[in-house]
């Protein structure tokens, strides 16, 4: 199988901090996989995603599509869709929804070529799929939290990414919208072999089709495997305490 993400002995320390936020991470992700990364607040989930995306300086081997993110970070990010956690803008922000979604394609298109008709077709199709096409001409700051979250997901999808990094993408979405997003993700994996990493601290937000869960706790991967296996593990109990029932 084709390896999309390869981490070996990776540690990331924020500037000015002494302790690394994630420590000695080893992770192999294959093409088309959907992996949910869970862990309590402060476990290092966001740090892990940003390390994979080459946005944070780290130690160890970090490769995406067989290329080191240290040397090829920007070029790789043109193929990686990223939805940051809790991204919200001020009410007066002077950008329209459709323009924000279109920005997702900017890196992929590259400099000196404008956004063309064909690009807009893709941008509109993504907005339709997420049900935000009727918001296209609204200022983004006037949208609700959940609507803004959909815009950020649309922005990542407009890139036609080969790898998707989603940081708590469901936190403001209602149940129906979560299902819509999950269906889109399933479609992308099946049709285009897109690889998806979803981060969530909320165990009820684990996507349905998920076959592999990675548990982070205090900056380390403490469990990695099929959902049942992870939920039954000692490490899971340590990280989340005795929660039952939440996992339906």
């Amino acid at each position: 199988m084709e390896v999309v993400v390869r981490l070996e002995g990776v540690s990331t320390t924020y500037e000015g901090e002494r302790r690394p936020a994630i420590t000695d991470i080893n992770l192999l992700v294959e093409r088309g996989e959907l992996i949910t990364i869970i862990g309590p607040n402060g476990a290092g989930k966001t740090t892990l995603l940003e390390t994979i995306n080459g946005l944070l300086p780290s130690e160890g081997l970090v490769e995406v599509f067989g290329l080191s993110v240290r040397e090829h970070g920007r070029e790789l990010r043109r193929r990686i869709g990223y939805v940051p956690q809790d991204f919200m803008v001020e009410a007066g922000t002077p950008f329209l929804v459709k323009d924000v979604v279109a920005m997702g394609r900017v890196g992929r298109i590259g400099p000196l070529r404008p956004i063309r008709e064909g690009d807009w077709e893709i941008i509109w199709a993504v907005m339709e799929e997420l049900g935000i096409a009727d918001l296209a001409d609204r200022p983004i700051g006037k949208l609700s939290g959940g609507q803004q979250q959909k815009v950020m997901i649309a922005r990542a999808l407009a890139k036609e990414p080969e790898l998707l990094l989603l940081d708590e993408p469901f936190s403001s979405l209602d149940a129906r919208s979560r299902m819509v997003v999950c269906e889109i993700l399933d479609g992308l994996r099946e049709e285009r072999g897109v690889t998806v990493l979803v981060v969530t601290h909320d165990l009820s937000a684990i996507p349905e089709g998920c076959e592999r869960i990675v548990l982070l706790n205090e900056g380390r991967i403490t469990a990695d495997g099929a959902p049942d296996q992870v939920f039954a593990s000692e490490a899971f109990l340590r990280a989340y305490g005795p929660v039952r029932a939440v996992i339906a």
């Binding site: 500037e15 000015g16 995306n53 946005l55 920007r74 070029e75 790789l76 990010r77 043109r78 193929r79 990223y82 940051p84 991204f87 009410a91 007066g92 922000t93 002077p94 950008f95 329209l96 323009d99 924000v100 279109a102 920005m103 997702g104 900017v106 890196g107 992929r108 298109i109 400099p111 000196l112 404008p114 956004i115 200022p139 700051g141 006037k142 890139k159």
Partner: protein
């Protein structure tokens, strides 16, 4: 009302309109990216540079340009070394450049401070030379092409530099280009509006445009016209009441900003 020779008047108007358009174009970047203290710092170091130029009998415009660009070049690396935001470093450097400027002015020989120096402080349309106008026109052409050619990248950086970086855009390179542009524009406009007030033209017109629309493209189209209008009305006011040009422009552009805030669609239910 003072009578100016018509060639001087035309030259002043051409220079002012160009400077107004330029300042307010780059002003949109400066305001949106919160580079205000960087801009203030550069306008004051340009002023210090011009003062030094007068002291050393070198071309004040060239010296102003060099000082502004040197500041632009220094801010990034210093803020990285000091691990402080460039805004903070700029805030510290700004009084320092002012202090230097006053020292240079004090060191000028003779009791009479010449017209050049006064014009550096308050701005003067009398000292605008044909080459100043040509430089302003060239810089406006460069700025416009930069914005048009890299519109989609600049748009992404203006929305959120970090997010643009995550989409594979070299945000830092664009931010640096913007800082340099800002330095050049400030230094070139210095003569007209004066070192103490030039930055108000940058901030006021762009802030006015930002009040009036939610669409970045419209804001960029609107802002230079507001800048030109600010110059023309301020210039008219200064001729009429015999006030310093820079002060008049700042007054009219401030009134325009206040009006736009009062009328802004952003404050109404939309």
């Amino acid at each position: 009302m003072i009578a100016l020779p018509s060639t001087l008047l035309l030259r002043a108007i051409a220079g002012g309109v160009l400077a107004g358009a330029l300042c307010s174009l780059v002003g949109v970047f400066a305001v949106r990216l919160r580079m205000s203290s960087i801009g203030f710092c550069m306008s004051h170091s340009a002023f210090a540079g011009a003062a030094l130029g007068v002291l050393l009998a070198l071309d004040p415009l060239l010296m102003a340009m060099l000082a502004a660009l040197a500041t632009a070049a220094l801010l990034g690396p210093i803020s990285e070394k000091a691990k402080l935001p460039a805004n903070v470093i700029a805030g510290v450097m700004f009084p320092m450049t002012m202090a230097l400027a006053f020292i240079f002015l004090m060191l000028l020989p003779g009791p009479v401070i010449g017209l050049t120096v006064l014009s550096l402080l308050w701005g003067s349309v009398l000292t605008v030379s044909p080459s100043d106008v040509a430089f302003l026109a060239i810089l406006l052409a460069l700025t416009t092409s930069f914005i048009v050619l890299f519109w989609k990248e600049l748009n992404a950086v203006l929305f959120d530099p970090r997010l643009a970086e995550a989409d594979g855009v070299n945000s830092r390179a664009y931010m640096n280009a913007i800082i340099f542009l800002l330095g050049g524009v400030v230094a070139l406009s210095l003569k007209l509006v004066g070192g103490l007030l030039v930055y108000a033209l940058v901030v006021n017109s762009a802030s006015t445009a930002l009040q009036l629309s939610y669409d970045m493209k419209k804001i960029f189209l609107l802002s230079p016209f507001i800048g030109m209008l600010a110059f023309l009305s301020g210039f008219g006011l200064s001729l009429w009441l015999d006030l310093p040009v820079g002060s008049s422009i700042v007054l009219t552009s401030s009134i325009m900003l206040a009006t736009s805030i009062a009328l802004s669609p952003k404050r109404k239910r939309g």
